[in-house]
Amino acid sequence: MKATEPDNRPVITMRGVTVGSLAAPGAVVAQAVNWTVAAGEFWAVAGLHGAGKSDFLLLTAGLMAPLAGEYEFLGEPMPIFAEERLPHRLKLGLVFEDARLFNTLTVAENVALPLRYHRGPADVAARVADLLAALELTPFADTHPGQLGRNWQRRAALARALALGPEVLCLDNPLAGLDPRQRRWWLEWLVSLADGHGLNGGRPLTLVVSADGLRAWRGVARRFALLEGRQFTVLGDWAGVEQSGHALVRELRGTREPEFDPRGGI
């Protein structure tokens, strides 16, 4: 099933972490989170709307500090704001649910921005062209994000997040609001990234996605967790999801989502 086995090196370690809310400082969306993500793993964190998945991912991506507890990314305490530790921080990428592209820049300029800022102008054009071509965004290179649909905006955000070649990528609800064909594209792409895509130097990418449901991620993600009622529960692999007696887990793993064979289309 898996093209590349995880090497078990912990990349994300949370001990007793309390997750706050970016919109409401001081509010708690999850507490006592104990979680370890090994290199090369593919996690899906499921929960209902309002459960705090986005805030959880923002904390995981280093945009928020834990209200309590310890969070280490590749052995370094998070979040990282110090300039001298920035290269370490850049090993972690984030794709927002609403893409959050810069509306004054074109798609190509959006993808080029992190490269220009962190690495200078050398080879930017070639890298951007590769990313746009791989994600089928070349026809939209000179288009402003506001003129694109949600799927294309999210693809551009994925290209931007991949530009610096991260080791870990967090994606906030990447399947939200997409039609079945678009969802299939995304699932195939994420599996190829997890297995080691050429765009990322062939290295398996550690992935953490948030999701409204579990079913779509069966056979795609390798580890599952549930966020509900301020509790973060690790479910393990799909067998663990199926064995869980949690009523919400049963509901989220329902049967309405179409089954998907991730290797079929690659």
């Binding site: 409401a24 459960a51 959050r100 800022y117």
Partner: protein
């Protein structure tokens, strides 16, 4: 089971009570609230200005490939693109000052002071101040709207996710661009106002030859005028950038808050520029 997880109510911020308190019942309460609001605003602006200066210092020359084009774009936006408007207003100002001064000075035989009046009124005061207010209207308001919209749309978090310092990327180019642009525009504005002033004097048959006019102006100018003009105009530009960026960027905004933030930024920038101008008047009077 299907209900979202309950979250604790957002706690009151350190200064929020001042802004959300009910209407004051007595005038001491109203006065006290205004004083507190003024204090918190000055403190916030001061902190933001220091952070910006710190970033300019520590990240000078860093990420030139991304920051350089933005800075040039801001210089063009706050400078060259505004030139036609400024030349028009400068011509009107020259007419206004010369028209009034000639009407009165010719009655008392003081036409020979025309150049001096132009230096005192236009070079030292009206030129820099009108330029600053026009830059605020044309560029400062756009800053608040752009940054406020970006903030409301979550673009600041997107920058942070990419390891890009929002102050470095969004504020520093605007501060440099507005400081340089305001200085350059003021110079052109003053030159145009002095030129149009002479044209209006000529049209009113004032017995003043061009070389006399230029000599009067040159005689009224000192090195202090040049030094303080450069300092004052650059400071006006930097203040406009700091105040407008602060209101657009420094606090969480929703889309519906952007217009209020713009109005507040304009008011505070006008007051800040006025206070700075008063400070420079004191410097002039002390040095004169």
């Amino acid at each position: 089971m299907n209900e979202p997880a309950p979250t604790a109510a957002a706690p009151e911020t350190e200064t929020g009570f001042v802004f959300r308190a009910p209407l004051s019942a007595t005038w001491p309460q109203a006065l006290g609230r205004r004083v507190l609001r003024w204090f918190f605003t000055v403190r916030g602006l001061g902190a933001f200005a220091l952070i910006t200066l710190g970033v300019m210092w520590t990240k000078a020359g860093r990420s030139a490939a991304a920051i350089g084009p933005l800075t040039r774009q801001e210089v063009a936006r706050a400078g060259a693109r505004l030139l036609p408007l400024f030349l028009f207003v400068a011509a009107a100002l020259g007419l206004l000052v010369i028209g009034q001064v000639v009407a009165w000075s010719s009655r008392v035989g003081a036409v020979s002071y025309l150049g001096v009046v132009m230096v005192v009124a236009v070079v030292r005061e009206l030129g820099p101040l009108i330029t600053a207010f026009l830059v605020l209207a044309r560029v400062g308001t756009a800053n608040v709207v752009e940054l406020g919209t970006a903030r409301a749309a979550g673009e600041v978090e997107a920058l942070e996710a990419l390891g890009i310092d929002p102050v470095h990327y969004l504020v520093v180019p605007r501060v440099i661009g507005l400081a340089l642009g305001t200085f350059a525009l003021t110079v052109f504005f003053i030159l145009a106002a002095l030129g149009s002033g002479y044209v209006w004097a000529f049209l009113q048959d004032v017995p003043l030859r061009p070389e006399q006019y230029v000599r009067q102006i040159a005689g009224a100018l000192s090195w202090l005028d040049f030094a303080l003009l450069a300092l004052k105009t650059a400071a006006f530009g930097a203040i406009i950038a700091i105040v407008t960026c602060y209101h657009g960027l420094a606090r969480p905004l929703r889309f519906e808050d952007v217009s209020t933030a713009t109005v507040r930024a304009v008011g505070q920038a006008v007051v800040a520029c006025g206070c700075l101008d008063a400070l420079f008047i004191v410097v002039y009077l002390t040095a004169a």
